[in-house]
Amino acid sequence: MAEIRGESPLAPRAKLLAEASVPDVLELGEIPFLTQVALRLDPEGAEAARVGAALGAPLPLAPGTSVVAGDLLVLWMGPDEWLVMGEQGRAPEVVSALTRSLEGEHGAVVDVSGQRTTLEVAGPRAEEFLNKGCPLDLHPFSFGPGRCAQTLLARTEVALLRRHGTTPVFWVLVRSSFARHLAGWAADAAAEYGARDTLA
């Protein structure tokens, strides 16, 4: 996998996010350059099964769910739309694998790795922090590990994913051009947790 040497959307805000983080309370940081491939196809068609086979796991058909397929992650984005995610630099290989398994059936496979970057939000306050700007119910009862959703955060369209694990970890996928705005909002919203009077 080719390493990407460019500048990620939030690289100029890495310091801000680090300073806004509060250990064991709320930690913010960018995961740059993740491979992201948009996949469109008919979920009822044979190509869906072929793609599932190629990925090593069936496409998630239930709205708001994701599946782990080997070292790839597949997010449900819409009734005929998925986002395939992986380590940086894997787009070409993923695109050709998916395109191959379409076998000429109508579908779309588009490398959108640069379209969004990933902001990781972790820690016991992550849920509350996100709810300062996100209208979604993020309680584990309704948004448990592996759940994903496209929604609004701080007036910005994002895709949210709750990662598996013992402590709350969310991935916020945000459009590259909006990423700085979101980082600015996040630092502002996180300030409360760094302030002495609320840590007690």
Binding site: I4, G6, E7, S8, P9, P12, P32, F33, A38, R40, H106, G107, A108, V110, D111, V112, S113, G114, Q115, R116, E128, N131, K132, G133, C134, P135, L136, D137, H139, F141, S142, A154, R155, T156, R175, S176, S177, F178, R180, H181, L182, G184, W185, D188, A189, A191, E192, A195, D197, T198
Partner: protein, 947 residues
């Protein structure tokens, strides 16, 4: 006298934490846990303000948000207008002053922070009094996710202020246990100091949490979506209307009880109690036991309930059944009341009256359930004759009222109705639970009250001093005038008298007003009804609702991957939609015009580059992609060859230009469509609409790739030279890479897609690379072009260059009323296609006119002059009297480096038939001559595009 009315060892204040404050410039002392009102009363201060219209002295009447009188201005710590003393938490060094009904805003900026929180729950309980606590406990025990919101600083409501007993122990002790149990439940969220002020569609409720002046966040607005709601909002005691019912020293009986038990404060030394129902007797007894002399209890009912009769007898409190207070008197504060005989069946009290001296008059006219939120949720109300008040009728879906809010009077009944509501709410969420184990309250039997809307007075027959709404100084006399003027609807009467329009929105006066009106009209209160209850329940600060959406957080700022470079170069930015785009790049002391002339010259003579990453980009894929694009563009895209690019226009169905851009065919079944920077989101939405809802049979997928690509325009006769230096492997010669073609290649070491298109008329390329290489490739081009004097240019230069070529900007040269033909772009409208969006509209009578406004060029007679964009055009050289017929207006106007003069684009009636004509343009106060020309000013034959 400092805290002279404060009892020893009573109330829930913290006596170890004295607080110093000033009111109207005088220093006082109170305690942690006081409100401004309780602290003032403790210091014997009753008069807080003067009234708004009549300038009469006014005191503290209530103990909560319903206070109609005690309006104050906070001066310290920060100026805040129009607070009620009864809801202001006392803080050290607080400074406040009384207001005659109108407040002052601070001149300086509010330093406080306000924010917002979204929350979801199964059951939201509004109010944490007996009913609310019982509801919350029951719901919590079912495992439901519960939010309890209470305006007060602690949970308990009436249990804290009445001194009642539960299971033989003080009621507040049980409240403490209940709170302790709620704390045990992980899914329960307790919000104190939080007022739910709005109940909207689908159980969306908004609340404001007062976190304290020193808190990191002063106020937080909660946006709560609840599956089920229990309104346990309590009730407001109703004052009584009689002559002079507005004097300081006249308090609601329940409020006096609250001041006693909650704050250890007594309102005076000698009190008269005037009531129409049982509840005031408790106040009489409690205050007597606290050492206040109760001169008498005046009960409008014919007989006194035995239970209270005996309690009063034990204490030697004299009772006066079948009487009413007809008037009060006093220098400012009440010093005497007159009591007259008034049996229920008699229309007005007798002329005979007894004078009774007192410094305090406690009144109770019954209780109004706080139905505001129930009503906001579209819950129906009915008038209950036995309560003499409006009570919830049918509950709205998933909403219940409990306790006093539902018209329940005794503590034990409130507890059980709350618990029942909690159980039903939990069950509605699919959670079973038995009703909570409830304590027993020694609630005496309640006898029906007498509904008294006003006490007719022999001395004041017009009702000039019979106040209905003290906050607005609206009297019975005012209502009489309104009725006399022909007003019948309560809404008209309210507007005529301004009843219920003050800070308290008529919490104490609303029902009274309806009652008085019905009495004067001789109708039934039910049919008159109330005025509409609207959010907010209590006033909310603008800043709290604004939250964090201030400054740059007001609306997202979108930036490109090259943004910081533009900033480093000191470029001013233009807001284009949410984008920040560099406007121009001034050198040294250059002003905008100088900078733009230099940038334009560079592109025409050498080479320049612009960051055009903001252009919208949509990947269009599928076997029917060509057919689809043929339907949404005016021109034919199906005939486009793979590897080639075509300019395209989009129209709305009514034939007006709505966006434009280039369409590149990137495969047999694949296109890359670009849109205007501002139009990207709208165009994608528009295309999805037609695809999903109209032409769903077409096999096409749309994917936005706007942010995936960073795109750089490289323009000018020497652009090929610059590109060749950073893309040595690419064949850039004309025959290999012609105009309106695209190629993939390696630029500055990165995979890139290069378009050969031009918005300036010069030889030009648009180079796209993934976002994260944008800055690197940009800097590589700058470095490679340095020897050739490569010049970065901004949106202004881009506008000038395209205008010299007569290329319109959608949204600047068009305004939603312009067709492709109006723009002289008939060439972009396919004649062959059977149909496309907009085509049918072109043949409509007005749209088909040949004398419509058309895009033309305009050259001012004075070449040094630059017309104003937005200038109107007229025939005459001298302005006649208005109205002056207008021929059109200037849409774009600049100074051109290459033309060495000012020039403009304009939309002019039948403009293309008038080329050569001289017209006159408004310019400041005068008119200037200009000649209509073709809209292409430079390189008409397009000789320069190949370099």
């Amino acid at each position: 006298m400092n805290n002279g009315y404060r009892l020893r060892a009573r109330g829930r204040i913290d006596r170890d934490r004295p607080l110093h404050f000033t009111f109207d410039g005088r220093e006082y002392q109170g305690y942690e846990g006081d409100t401004l009102a309780s602290a003032l009363l403790a210091n014997g201060v009753h008069q807080v303000a003067t009234s708004i219209k009549h300038g009469r002295p006014r005191g503290i009447m209530a103990a909560g948000a319903e206070e109609p009188n005690a309006l104050v201005q906070i001066d310290e710590p920060f100026p805040e207008p129009m607070q009620t003393a009864t809801t202001v938490r006392l803080t050290d060094r607080l400074a406040a002053s009384g207001l005659p009904g109108r407040g002052r805003l601070a001149a300086e900026k509010d330093p406080a922070r306000y924010d917002t929180m979204h929350a979801h729950c199964d059951v939201l309980v509004v109010g944490a009094g007996p009913a609310g606590l019982a509801a919350a406990l029951t719901a919590a025990r079912s495992g439901a996710r519960v939010i309890v919101a209470e305006t007060d600083t602690e949970f308990g409501g009436a249990l804290l202020g009445t001194g009642e007993q539960l299971d033989g122990a003080p009621a507040h002790a049980w409240a403490r246990q209940a709170v302790a149990e709620l704390d045990e439940h992980p899914e329960v969220r307790k919000l104190t100091g939080t007022t739910v002020f709005g109940h909207y569609e689908d159980n969306y409720l908004v609340a404001v949490e007062h976190r304290g002046e020193d808190a990191f966040t002063r106020q937080r607005v909660w946006r709560i979506r609840a599956r089920e709601v229990v309104h346990a909002t309590g009730a407001h005691e109703r004052p009584l209307i009689f002559a002079g019912n507005d004097r300081p020293g006249i308090l609601l009986a329940g409020a006096a009880r609250t001041y006693l038990h909650r704050y250890g404060v007594v309102p005076g030394e000698r009190a008269v109690v005037f009531t129409t129902n049982d509840s005031a007797y408790a106040a009489a007894v409690d205050l007597h036991d606290a050492g206040v002399e109760i001169a008498t209890v005046v009960d409008a009912r014919g007989s006194v309930p035995p239970h209270w009769e005996s309690l009063c007898a034990e204490r030697g409190i004299t009772l006066m059944p079948g009487t009413a207070v007809v008037t009060s008197s006093g220098p400012g504060r009440v010093s005497q009341v007159r009591v007259a005989q008034w049996w229920q069946e008699e229309e007005r009290p007798g002329a005979e009256h007894t004078r009774i001296d007192c410094d305090t008059l406690l009144v109770s006219g019954g209780w109004n359930p706080a139905v505001h939120l129930h009503s906001q949720a579209r819950g129906a109300l009915r008038f209950s004759e036995d309560l003499g008040a409006f009570v919830p009728d049918q509950n709205p879906r998933s909403v219940r009222s409990a306790g006093a809010a539902a018209g329940v009077l005794t503590t034990s009944a409130c507890l059980s109705s709350g618990s029942e509501a909690g159980r039903k709410a939990a069950r509605a969420c699919g959670l079973e639970t038995e009703t909570a184990e409830l304590p027993r309250a020694a609630s005496p039997p309640v006898r029906p009250g007498r509904t008294v809307w006003l006490v007719p007075s022999p001395t004041d027959s017009t009702g000039d001093t019979q106040y209905v709404d003290l906050a607005r100084d609206a009297t019975v006399a005012d209502i009489r005038r309104a009725l006399g003027a022909g007003m019948e609807s309560v809404e008209h009467i309210k507007r005529y008298t301004t009843l219920g329009t003050a800070h308290d929105q008529g919490k104490t006066s609303g029902t009274l007003a309806s009652g008085v009106i019905t009495e004067l009209l001789g109708r039934s209160t039910g049919e008159i009804g109330t005025t509409t209850f609207r959010a907010p329940y209590t006033p909310v600060a603008f800043a709290a609702l604004a939250g964090r959406e201030r400054g740059d957080l007001y609306d997202p700022v979108r930036v490109t991957s090259v943004h910081d470079w533009h900033v480093d170069q000191g470029a001013p930015f233009e807001n284009v939609g949410q984008w920040k785009r560099p406007w121009y790049y001034p050198h040294g002391g250059e002003d905008m015009e100088a900078a733009v002339l230099r940038e334009c010259r560079a592109v025409r003579e050498g080479v320049g580059l612009q960051d055009v990453s903001t252009l919208g980009k949509i990947d269009v894929q599928g076997p029917d992609a060509a057919e689809f694009l043929d339907l949404v563009y005016t021109n034919k895209m199906s005939t486009l060859k793979v590897g080639r690019i075509r300019y395209g226009l989009m129209c709305t169905a009514d034939g007006m230009v709505f966006d434009d851009g280039t369409v590149a065919r990137t495969g047999e079944h694949r296109y890359l469509v670009t849109t205007t920077s501002g139009g990207a989101a709208g165009v994608l939405q528009w295309l999805e609409d037609w695809l999903q809802t109209e032409w769903s049979h077409l096999r096409v997928h749309l994917t936005s790739v706007t942010d995936h690509w960073a795109t750089i325009a490289l323009a000018g006769p020497r652009s090929r030279e610059v590109l060749s230096r950073v893309a040595p492997d690419m064949e850039l010669e004309q025959e290999d890479f012609p105009f309106m073609a695209w190629r993939d290649g390696t630029v500055a070491g990165h995979g890139a897609r290069v378009f050969r298109i031009s918005f300036s008329g010069e030889l030009a390329y648009e180079i796209s690379v993934p976002w994260w290489y944008g800055r690197e490739v940009w800097e590589a081009l700058v470095a490679a072009g340095a020897p050739l004097g490569i010049t970065p240019y901004g949106t202004e230069t881009m506008h000038v260059l395209r205008a010299e070529k007569g290329l319109p900007i959608v949204g600047q040269d068009t305004d939603g009323t312009v067709t492709p033909y109006d723009l002289g772009m008939g060439w972009a409208v396919s004649k062959k296609k059977e149909d496309f969006l907009g085509k049918r509209s072109f043949s409509r009578a007005d749209t088909a006119r040949t004398d419509r406004k058309q895009l033309v060029g305009l050259l001012p007679a004075d070449p040094d002059l630059v017309l104003a964009e937005g200038a109107q055009l007229v025939e005459e050289a001298e302005l006649p009297e208005p109205p002056v017929p207008m021929l059109g207006h200037v849409t774009s106007s600049y100074r051109s480096a290459v033309l060495e003069r000012g020039f403009a684009l304009a939309m002019v009636d039948a403009g293309r038939d008038r080329i050569g004509d001289t017209v006159h343009a408004t310019y400041g106060g005068r008119l200037v001559a200009a000649t209509i020309t073709d809209h292409v000013f430079y390189d008409k034959e397009g000789a320069r595009r190949d370099g």
